[in-house]
């Protein structure tokens, strides 16, 4: 699902919620997942003018979860460990985006190549 405009954020969030409801994810986990997704797409819009997203249902033994992938062709992040520190921001935001998002979900993975883009994958498992 492409997210290239500010108006795409709310429909995207509704879509994630639909998937979470489908696998009967608890309300708190749902809220955390959607908030995390919202933070990442906002970052993507701000720094990379948007990008592509994928929503998938994944399973691990008996546990189900939602995996969200965010793929942009923006400037990339030069220093990922620095970007993952609380309070760091190259923009004017509070710098909570990436580290805050990581705290909200079960798994968080980021790959970035300066000059060619950033891919972030997050997973929220129903049972932690």
């Amino acid at each position: 699902m492409p997210v290239y405009r500010e108006q795409d954020v709310i429909p995207y969030r509704s879509r994630v919620r639909e998937y979470a409801v489908k696998i009967k994810m608890g309300l708190v986990s749902q809220t955390k997942l959607i908030t995390a997704a919202s933070e990442i797409v906002r970052n993507m819009l701000k720094y990379a003018n948007g990008g592509e997203t994928i929503i998938e249902i994944v399973s691990r033994g008996r546990d189900n979860g939602i995996r969200l992938t965010f793929d942009d062709k923006g400037p990339g992040i030069a220093d990922i460990p620095k970007a993952m520190k609380d309070g760091f921001s190259t923009g004017r935001s509070l710098g909570l985006g990436l580290p805050g998002t990581k705290r909200l979900v079960s798994e968080f993975d980021i790959k970035s190549e300066p000059g060619s883009g950033t891919t972030i994958t997050i997973i929220m498992w129903i049972n932690g």
Binding site: V9, R17, V28, T31, T35, S38, D86, L94, G100
Partner: protein
């Protein structure tokens, strides 16, 4: 253009957010509220977010900004009705919404606003008494 309605209730403004706010709508709300606080000499602003399922850092920042701006215009802001899942998420995200008062529902929020404003009135009265000439 779509706008969030702002109701005037005595000396207070009441805003009930019933939909997921997209950025422009949130920014308009901030502008409209601050303008109305000034124009109608409002003493308190009540924002009901009981129907809001997601508060991300942008939305949190808007709520905080409204609180700070209203404070500069001598009005208090109370955010009421936050869903427990939203509270959990905000704290884990690292955004504990400092600077705005919170209450569980609109009634309690009204009470809180009234008590804040009464306290200010009393302080004002005392000051007048002390400085009034004989």
């Amino acid at each position: 253009m779509e706008r969030i309605p702002i109701l005037k209730l005595g000396a207070f403004l009441l805003v009930t957010i019933q939909i997921d706010l997209y950025d422009r709508l949130a920014l308009h709300l901030e502008e409209d509220l601050v303008a109305m606080v000034e124009k109608k000499s409002v003493k308190g602003v009540l924002i009901d977010i009981s129907a809001v399922g997601i508060v991300d850092s942008f939305m949190g920042r808007i709520l905080g900004n409204i609180g700070s701006m209203c404070k500069l215009l001598d009005a208090e802001t109370v955010v009421v009705g936050m869903q427990p899942a939203v509270a959990i998420t905000l704290v884990e995200l690292g955004l504990p919404l400092k600077g705005v008062y919170t209450a569980l529902n609109v009634d309690k929020g009204m009470e809180l606003l009234r008590s804040k404003i009464e306290i200010e009135d009393t302080i004002g009265d005392d000051y007048d008494d002390d400085t009034s000439p004989n």
